[in-house]
Every structure is written in C-alpha cells, then in structure tokens.
C-alpha cells in the first residue's frame, strides 16, 4: 500500500488499521528488543564485575545455615526451658535499654524531622511557591538530605558530636526531614487548588492560604506518611549502632564480631520482634487515618 493510494474516497479501513498496527507492533518490538539487549548486557557486566557464581553461593550456604542454627541452639530440653531462656537472655537489661534508645531515636527523629520537613514542604511545592529560586533551593536541599543515606549522615555527624545516640538521632532527623519534605511537597502539588483561590479571593495572605486551604486537604496523607516513616526509622535506628551512633545495633555488631552466636540470636530476635510489632501498629494507624479521610468525602 503506497501513500498516494490513500484518498478520502477509497480508504480501505481494514488495510489501514492493519498497516498502522503493524507499524506500531514493529516499533514496540524494536523497543522491547533494545531494552532486553541492554538489560542482558548490564547483567553480564554485573556478573563479571562481582564474580557472582551460583555454585560459590551454594557452597557457602551451609556456613550461613550453621551460623543461624548456632545462634538459636540455646535449648537442650523442655524441662530446662525457663532456666535456659534466662541464661540465653543474660544481658536482657542492657539490650532492652539499648533497644529503648533505638526506639527513642526513631521517635524523636520522626517528630522533629516531620515538623521541619512539613514546614519546608510548603516552600518546596511548585504550585504554592511563586518564587522559583526559593522553591528550587529548598526542594534540592531536601532531595540531597534524602538521597544521602541516614547511616552516612551518622558517619558524618560522628566526628563533631562524638560516638553515641546524639549523632544517630541527628542523622535520622536530617534524613527524615528530606524524605518527609519531598513526599509532603508531592502531596501538596497534587492537592486541589480551588480552596486556595477561595481564600485568596477572600483576601487571605500566603500563610492563611496554607493554613485554611491546603492543610485540611493534605493532613490525612501527612499523618499516614508520618506513621510509615516512624516504622522505617525504627528499622534504621536498629542499625545506627553499627557505626557507633547509638542503639541496639552496637550490641549486635559486637556480638557478631566476637562470634557470640547465642547473643546474636537473642538480640536479632528482639530486633525483629520490635520492628515487626511497630510495623503492624503503624499499618493499623495509617488505615485508621486514611479510612477517616475516605469517610469524610
């Protein structure tokens, strides 16, 4: 079928459709081909670069399983369950205190980081901030704070603030500020602009527009993200101790380095249990607040 054959009088609809579809499919196949070739090249380079070999892993897997088994072989018989449990958790007081510090770090970082990030998010929203340079600076700062991982912030803060939970909590605060600020500003950008125009028409200034037109719309989402961030921060706070920035992680890394298998098992169980419970609680709270939102609509 040539181009000049198509005139308004004698368009063959079926042939036209087939031709368009064939062109479309060819293009799609070409893209898919390019994508898969690129993917397999990347994969091949990665496998070579990391010396990845499935047989090496299978060979080393028994070492891992024996590590796990040794970490949980604290019990010999049912009769001695309680005394052995007591022996297993010989350092319970220290560990609970360290875990409490981790939880406190996560809580503080979530509250402080969300407050700062939430306030900055209105400046970092394209639709609310008319001064482009201010929006640009705040948004990029938040993105950098978020992109640098929290444990790297901890490594940075260790130098001026010394080892201990202060560096860890500051690291979590910086990361939380960035993450919340970016997420919240995306929520702001998706909010309905009509209430803002209403407040503006009634003579409200910028702060009143934010307070009475934007916040009522975005608050349920903000709260939901905050509970999610709390769960993530609890998880992050458990490993802050790996770089000596406070919390249970320090106890865990010491036990692993010294190969105190039973201690590793006991501490891991505490960490996993806590993160698990916080996760479920956070999920419940999120559903509670988001449910409220859908009810009011």
């Amino acid at each position: 079928m040539t181009a000049e054959a198509i005139t308004p009088e004698k368009i063959d609809a079926v042939a036209h459709f087939e031709a368009t579809r064939a062109a479309y499919m060819t293009r799609k196949r070409a893209y898919a081909f390019i994508f898969w070739v690129a993917f397999f090249i990347c994969l091949g380079v990665s496998v070579i670069h990391t010396d990845f070999n499935i047989f090496t892993i299978i060979e080393k897997l028994p070492g891992t399983t024996s590590f796990v088994v040794k970490s949980y072989s604290a019990f010999s018989s049912w009769e001695n369950f309680w005394p052995e449990l007591y022996d297993w958790y010989w350092g319970f007081e220290t560990w609970v205190d360290a875990l409490f510090v981790s939880l406190l770090m996560a809580f503080t970082a979530t509250v402080v980081g969300t407050t700062i990030g939430g306030l900055l998010s209105f400046v970092a929203s394209r639709n609310l901030m008319k001064k482009y340079w201010l929006y640009f600076m705040v948004r990029r700062t938040l993105e950098i704070a978020r992109t640098v991982p929290d444990i790297v912030w901890a490594l940075i803060f260790i130098y001026p603030f010394g080892v201990g939970p202060l560096a860890g909590v500051l690291a979590l605060i910086v990361h939380t500020t960035g993450a919340q600020g970016k997420l919240f500003s995306e929520v702001n950008e998706n909010s309905d602009f009509k209430p803002v125009e209403g407040i503006r028409a009634a003579g409200g200034n910028w702060f009143e527009e934010i307070r009475y037109a934007v916040i009522p719309q975005v608050l349920p989402n903000f709260i939901s993200y905050t509970f999610w961030r709390l769960a993530l921060n609890v998880q992050a706070a458990t490993v802050m101790g790996f770089v000596a920035a406070g919390g249970i992680g320090y106890e865990l890394i010491t036990a692993i380095r010294l190969l105190y298998f039973l201690d590793v098992g006991a501490i891991l169980l505490m960490i996993i249990g806590t993160v698990f419970l916080i996760d479920i609680a956070s999920e419940k709270m999120r559903h509670h607040f988001i449910g409220k939102e859908t009810l009011s609509q």
């Binding site: 670069h49 990391t50 990845f52 770090m105 503080t108 509250v111 402080v112 482009y132 909590v169």
Partner: protein, 312 residues
Amino acid sequence: MKGAATKELNAEEIQKQIERFPRVFSDTFKVRAIRWVSGVGVASILLYSLNRFGFFSEKFYGSLGKMAIMFGQMFPPTHGGQFWEYVDAIGETLSMALIGSLIGGILALPLAFMAAKNFNPIRALQFGTRRFADVLRAADYMIWGLIFVRAMGLGPIPGIMAIAIIDTGILVILYSEAIENIDNKQIEGVKASGGSMLEVIRFGVMPQVMPVLLTNALYMFESNVRAATILGIVGAGGIGFLLSDNLRAFEFSNALTIILMIIVVVYIIDYGSRKLRERYIRGDDYLQGDENIKKRSFFGRVLAKLTRPFSS
C-alpha cells in the same frame, strides 16, 4: 454577603442548628481528649529524649562549631588519586543492586502465589508465607549484610544475598496483593477452555499482574541501589566501604566526592526507573509537556531546562 439566596440567621436559629448538628460545629469530648492526651504525651517524650540525647547540653552547642569546621574541610571535593577506584566501586554497587533485585524479583513470584488468598486454599500456609516475608524484611539490609559477611566472607556476594533477601520479603507482599486484586473472569475463561493450573497462571493471571509486578520490581531496584551504597560499611561490597573508610580517616574532601557521586548515580537511576515505569504503564506514546515552563521567569526557565532530568 447580600446574595439573593442567602438568608440572615438570628442567634436563636444558629443555636438551633448547633444543637441539631453538634459534630459539625465542634468535636466530641472524646476526640478532644484523645488529641490533648496524645499531644501532651508526644511533647513530654520528645523533651525527655532531647534531654537524654544531650540537645540541651553545652557539648551539643560546642560541637556545632566543630561541625562547621568539618563542612569547611569538605570543600573543595578531592579524590586523592583514587577516582577510578571510586568509579569501580560505584559499578560494583550497581551490579550488586541489579543481581540482588533480579534474584529477589524471581524468588518472590512463587512465594507470592503461596501468599495470595485466591491461589492458596490452605489458610495456615498462606498466612505463614506472609509472616515469613515480614520476618525477612524486618531485619535491615545492614543486619543481613553483616550476617552474610560473617558467614561467607567479605565482598559483594554477601551484599547481593542481603539485597535479594529483603527484596524477596517486600516483593512477596506487594506481588501477592496484586495477585489478590485480579479479575476472576479471565481465569474462568482459561479454565472453561480446558486450561491447566499453569496455563491459568500464564494466560489468566500474568497478563493482568505483569505491569504491577514489573513496576514494583523496578521500584525495589531503585531502593536497592540506595541500600547497596551503604552495605560496604559492614564490608558487604560497594562504595560504602570507601566512604566509611575515608570518613573514619577524617578525609572529608574525599568523602564529599563519593557522596556527590552517590547522589548523581541515585538521581540517574531514579530518573531512568521512573521513565521506564511511566512508559510501561501508560504506553509508549506517552509524552508529557511541562505546562508550567512558559510561566516562569527567564532564569527560572533556564534552571528548569537544565535540571529537568533531576526534578521530580
């Protein structure tokens, strides 16, 4: 307000409306009580912990000067003649994330069918698979990395294992939710024409869930790249080792180079992955025009054009 439709209400009528709809005009006592108690609770825990962590101490304010000196030492960024080692380590980081995500994305698929209510009639097994996935992701990347480093030795392999395990844990939940939300009609169609279980999955389920699975797997790849940058801190391969090494040796300007490299790479990966996801979901004729671009000042337009790949 002098609109024809509005009617002036006198005080008595307003009072009547308040009595009629009390919850419109004020929250109930219970709601206000919960709000007050939680507010006071959060504030007091916050004060306690800020005090415990030493935010009100002399040491904290003394350290702020030290921090300024440290940030001053970071500039200008240097590489101490090790630039290509950094690039190599970044490559290792990306490789770890790619292989780990691939293994996780594949391992999660059969487990997701086990964890989906509509495919696993054995309730205990379905519930058990979900909780197992929860346990896998409850320990952080760093914890898994540390365990595998102890059991397998230093290098990128333990990092890959840690990424694969967390990736599996998260993707099982996401995949199984996608599988639970599918439309049953297509499955019934395949069954009615005599398809086996595998054919039901291949022709009834996969076409429906594939976009969700791929976008979730890509999303996890992004987050795995971020995780792979720090796994080196515990010796599990990647750029994290060089970063923590330089920071511990107070080579702040070298560390800044590495941090900047991480930021650039993470931005590029995020951007590429987002474009791929959008393309896959919306089709390849998707073209987005930036409507705001004409409204900006000249400087703003130039900035927007320069930073368009990175803005989100």
